[in-house]
Amino acid sequence: MTPSRLAFAAILGKDLRAELRTLQSLPAMALFAVTTFVIFRFGLDRTSLSGSLGAGVLWATLLFAAILGINRLFVAEREEGGFDAIRLAPIDRTALFAAKAAALLAYLLVLEAIVVPVFAIFFLGSAAALPPVAAVVLLADLGLAATGTLISSMAVNSRARDLLVPLVLLPLAVPLSIAATGALEPLLAVGGPGYHRFGTWLAVLGLYDLVFLLAGYAVFDFLLED
């Protein structure tokens, strides 16, 4: 058996190289998020957002932008025979799950590095909340990467892939969304970031991450069977 860390590095490296070369996912995700902020800014006719409204706008935008990347996560494996090539290799197949989740996490981090500052420019008076906001979205990204990778691997064999991913992912992401917006709400409060029940929501996010990472590890091998 090839060591899992080598297989993980090979698959992750291949995915990142292909994305850097083709830019098929990230630009679309970032453009979608920035456009959504513009629509919210003029749709709500607000130059600042705070509290639960700000948290909702930020998280919902990130979540829907993430779906664009999740939809494409396994497309090369499906359309170019990557699944077969990987299944023929003497590797632990959970390396594929881990590598795909890591690739999606990398996309989300790059996306947020671009669009969270844009959100701050559009809707926040200062950048004081950005460091704790970054910590929250990082923790939420882990869970979203695990769930998104699982759902994407299941949906990729369906012709209705683009429809199936949001239909299955969004209900599963409800607990994640509640915890993420719960943690973001006090950070975006008027007058500067607060930390009311901040630790509780971080714990919920951590628990969600753990559950879906373990679920992915447990079931991914079966998802690759014919």
């Binding site: 080598l6 291949k14 025979g81 290799a89 003497p90 590797i91």
Partner: protein, 231 residues
């Protein structure tokens, strides 16, 4: 020589349709089995089962001593599979694809680079190896796929029309890499029996009379002695 492949009552159904029914086969190590039959007879299905990519619906399958599908992990990495799809990523170059495959199979560093260089040279792709696969012709992709298939020096080659898209020069080069050789066990699916039969130790002829009726799926195994007598 020990059996490389043993099939006992192999069946594979897709919903109500039988792709393979009650197939029996023994192939010794180092031998070549040529599989013939019309479209839809189950040739590709048989190769995918032997490659561990499909589960049998019923019957016993042993490949390289491992019982499938339960011991598939023992076989992976020892089989070279060349199917209809080249299993290459279009946005990577040919060399990058081979490096990726090498890493999946545990080949690293100089050993992998050396092996990739030798194969690309042998198949006549050294000059085009750094072009993206999307830019290559079907014949060039097939040449790369052959390199991918033998990169990890497999014990068993499963080849589904390996010469498709290849020109005369490509066929000659491919023969060096995937043709009959000492100790190389091969299962070769082809629609060109006149080219494949001289190398065959056994011939498996799959036939389909009526796709919907399992009882009408036929398989006949012709060993070399019988074939020579008939010729």
């Amino acid at each position: 020589m020990s059996e490389a492949i043993e099939l006992r009552g192999l069946c594979r159904d897709f919903d109500e349709r039988a792709a393979l029914h009650d197939l029996e086969l023994e192939l010794a190590g180092g031998e070549t089995l040529v599989v013939l039959g019309p479209n839809g007879a189950g040739k590709t299905t048989l190769l995918r089962i032997l490659a561990t990519l499909l589960r049998p619906s019923a019957g016993e399958v042993r490949v390289l001593g491992a019982r499938l599908p339960g011991e598939a992990w023992k076989v992976r990495g020892r089989v070279g599979f060349l199917g209809h799809d080249p299993l290459l990523y279009r946005d990577l170059s040919g060399r990058e694809n081979l490096r990726f495959q090498a890493r999946l199979h545990g080949l690293r560093g100089d050993i992998a680079e050396q092996r990739i260089g030798v194969l690309l040279d042998a198949i006549g792709m050294e000059r085009n190896a750094d072009r993206r696969v999307a830019e290559l012709s079907a014949g060039m992709r097939q040449r790369l796929a052959i390199c991918r298939c033998v990169l990890h020096e497999p014990e068993l080659l499963l080849l589904d029309e390996p010469e498709s898209h290849l020109d005369a020069e490509g066929r000659e080069a491919a023969r060096e890499l995937i043709g009959p050789a000492e100790g190389r066990t091969r299962v070769l699916v082809t629609h060109e029996p006149e080219r494949a039969l001289p190398d065959a130790d056994q011939i498996l002829r799959l036939e389909t009379r009526h796709m919907e009726r399992r009882a009408d799926k036929r398989a006949s195994l012709v060993p070399r002695a019988a074939r020579e007598a008939r010729l």
